[in-house]
């Protein structure tokens, strides 16, 4: 007998709330722009504009705080597809996309697009291959899904442990970017910014779990989208008359090529198999924007695209949102929305990068190095740019202009001589999106520690606690959250990581370790638990070998070699999984039953049905006893 879908109503005013938040942010920006014209200084404007979205997020989190496990881990399974898609896109793009990816496209031009393409395709692949089935499973975390699929705590614990490494890397990267960008505009040192960011995301996650993340993530993504679009549209109008940068930046290609030739940027030849991505120290731009495969060869481009796509498809922080929608079909639409938002972001980034480059290099050789123009002085004062006439030629060359990769998006409004408030808007929006992504990664870590590791241990002691009950676990959860948060803090404050490289390493690791095991467990019924264990071990092992050899082989830089290792790891892991499964005894009836239930698109999620069954049995058992 199948249970009917429970009736769940989403809040009908969600759209209005998002509209109010958007207009409030725009009004605040306009107000501060006016105040700037009336003489307010940056010291007054920047804190208001950057802290307002943060305070808003905390207020939302307090409003939607929850203690029921279903709300906490699955947002009550009632998020409409559109809003879940927004939150998924915010998790994927994050501060890495907003600042570091834009900077990478600025330096690499065409070659940097592999990452954005990989994100879009990976999001689609995750939707098609995993998302709907995970929704049907209803497990709160990816390791929990694997554990139920194979009826094995070993698989679940292994997956949970392997998941920690890449997700901590992503969390640390997002937190670092918050600190770096906030420290540019606020009179606070970097380490305090990181600590505050950590406290904010910990508060959001502990208060309301996935529910708080969904609604703060929506607000933060909308603010980020406005902040990304407004300066870009203004610059587009200034440069190309039309307010549609994605359609009109084409006409700036020829002026850019001329400016680049005048600034001394010559076409480049890729160095070979281990082409690296731009690092986070200020560096000179040395590749023409439109040239294809100048910094990364065509094979490397494809590998990078593939590795990012595999990692994105298996990204646990995105997949953890699979349980949050009303139904399986709804979850597929949520994925489609997420792909659309990611795609809109990805097609806008090259416009921003190209505009920044066109303005920066136009007439560069006529600039007197001793009397820099005002915009350049502003960038230099903030550490976004280093300009020095190294060869004493009396003019500036592209090679004498060292640009901060993660500061390119913030530099664009300053370059374009827009009021300073525009740069602060970009920073505020980027910080918002980065906090949304960091929160999602922290939640993924915490949920895995609580539901997969602690819950299993607890079940050993108290067999009746098969399903996590939050009031009992909240203290443990807090400890776990703090632990992972402290790790990130350590990485962000003491350890120095390059955010783009950390994110790509994490994606490469996820692609090699989790993509094959998820693919086979959902799409192949003969896949067994030893197969799953071997697949994960092979993928992880390949990446560990790559990480160990990276320092020796390619100067510690992440690039196409990492991508190659990830793709090879994924292939080896798939092969190992298939071979071991075929050699192993066939899966048990319980595993096959779970596999078949995944395929039924109707009805309640498997997790909820099992929980309801057990609760009903317990209730009737109690009734018989009394």
């Amino acid at each position: 007998m199948r249970s009917a879908l429970r009736f769940r109503t989403p809040n009908p005013h969600l759209g209005a709330y998002l509209g109010i938040i958007t207009s409030a942010f725009i009004s605040l920006s306009i107000l501060l722009a006016l105040l700037e014209q009336m003489g307010w200084s940056e010291a007054a404007i920047a804190p208001i504009l950057i802290l307002a979205p943060v305070v808003l997020a905390v207020v939302i989190a307090v409003r939607v705080r929850t203690e029921t496990p279903e709300d906490y881990f699955a947002c009550g399974r009632r998020v409409p597809a559109f809003y879940n898609g927004v939150a998924m896109a915010a998790t994927l793009i994050g501060g890495i996309g907003f600042f570091a990816y834009a900077g990478a496209v600025f330096f690499l031009g065409f070659d940097g697009l592999a990452i954005g393409l990989g994100w879009s395709f990976g999001m689609l692949a995750g939707t098609v291959l995993f998302s709907g089935y995970l929704r049907k499973s209803g497990a709160y975390t990816v390791p929990s899904f694997l554990g139920h699929r194979f009826q094995s705590t070993t698989v679940r614990l292994t997956a949970a442990c392997l998941l920690l490494v890449p997700v901590i890397l992503l969390l640390a990267a997002e937190m670092k970017i918050v600190g770096v960008i906030a420290a540019l505009f606020l009179p606070i040192p970097y380490w305090i910014c990181v600590l505050v960011a950590g406290a904010v995301i910990a508060a959001i996650v502990i208060l309301g779990g996935l529910r708080a993340l969904t609604w703060t993530g929506n607000a933060q993504f909308v603010i980020g989208a406005v902040a990304f679009a407004v300066p870009l549209v203004i610059v587009s109008v200034l440069l190309t008359v039309l307010p549609t940068p994605q359609l009109t930046y084409g006409e700036r290609f020829d002026p850019l090529t001329r400016a680049e030739i005048n600034a001394g940027i010559m076409s480049k030849v890729p160095s070979g198999i281990s082409d690296a991505l731009p690092g986070d120290a200020p560096q000179a731009s040395d590749k023409p924007f439109a040239q294809s495969f100048g910094a990364i060869g065509s094979g490397g481009f494809f590998l990078l695209f593939l590795a990012v796509a595999l990692g994105t498809a298996a990204l646990p922080s995105v997949l953890i949102r699979s349980g949050a929608t009303l139904s399986v079909a709804e979850q597929r639409f949520a994925g489609a929305w997420a792909v659309l938002f990611v795609a809109l972001f990805v097609i806008s980034v090259p416009a921003a990068a190209l505009f920044a480059k066109v303005i920066m290099f136009h007439g560069l050789s006529q600039i007197d190095p001793n009397t820099l123009p005002n915009w350049m002085n502003q960038l230099v004062a903030r550490g976004l740019l280093i300009a020095q006439d190294a060869n004493s030629s009396g003019g500036l060359q592209a090679s004498e202009l060292l640009i901060l990769r993660d500061g390119v998006m913030v530099s664009l409004p300053i370059l374009s001589r827009l009021p300073l408030v525009c740069a602060v808007i970009v920073a505020a929006g980027g910080i918002s999106v980065a906090l949304a992504a960091a929160g999602a990664h922290l939640f993924t870590l915490g949920a895995s520690l609580a539901d997969d590791i602690y819950q299993l241990a607890d079940q050993r002691i108290r067999p009746e606690s098969r399903f996590i009950d939050l009031p009992h676990h909240i203290i443990v959860w807090g400890v776990m959250g703090t632990l992972s948060f402290a790790t990130a803090l350590f990485l962000a404050v003491i350890g120095d990581i390059d955010v783009l490289q950390a994110a790509l390493t994490a994606l490469a690791f996820l692609g090699a370790t989790f993509f094959p095991v998820l693919l086979l467990s959902i799409w192949w019924e003969r896949f067994t638990r030893s197969g799953a264990l071997f697949a994960m071990a092979t993928g992880c092992g390949t990446m560990v070998i790559e990480l160990l050899f990276r320092g020796a082989l390619e100067d510690g830089q992440v690039g196409t070699a990492t991508a190659l290792a990830s793709v090879i790891g994924a292939l080896l892991a798939t092969g190992a999984g298939v071979a071991v499964s075929l050699w192993d005894t066939p899966p048990s009836a319980a595993e096959l039953g779970y596999f078949d239930a995944l395929r039924d698109p109707d009805g309640e999620s498997i997790y909820d049905e099992a929980k309801a069954r057990i609760q009903a049995a317990a209730a009737s058992g109690n009734g018989a006893r009394s």
Binding site: L129, S292, S298, A329
Partner: protein, 86 residues
């Protein structure tokens, strides 16, 4: 060939849909990536055409593919549900 049950048919169509969509995009992606230099000889709205296809054309195709997939798969789900099997 024997008649497939509703669920087997559903599962076969689901597999074909997923493989066709992802395979097609991957194939188009490969053609565009490895052929970008020959496309770049042409101009499209003053973009180098190869650049445009990678930066926007393929990305928008992926986004459209997502919605197309969600809709077609939903129709398959509904057919299965109406068949009453399972």
């Amino acid at each position: 060939m024997e008649e497939l049950g509703a669920h087997a048919r559903y599962w076969r169509d689901t597999l074909i849909l997923a493989a066709a969509l992802l395979g097609a995009i991957l194939l188009i992606g490969m053609v565009l990536i490895f052929g970008v230099e020959s496309f770049n000889q042409y101009r499209f709205f003053r973009f180098p055409f190869g650049f445009y296809l990678i930066a926007q054309g393929l990305v928008l195709a992926i986004a459209a593919g997502g919605f197309w997939y969600a809709r077609v798969q939903q129709r398959l789900d509904e057919e299965l549900s109406e068949s009453g099997e399972f």
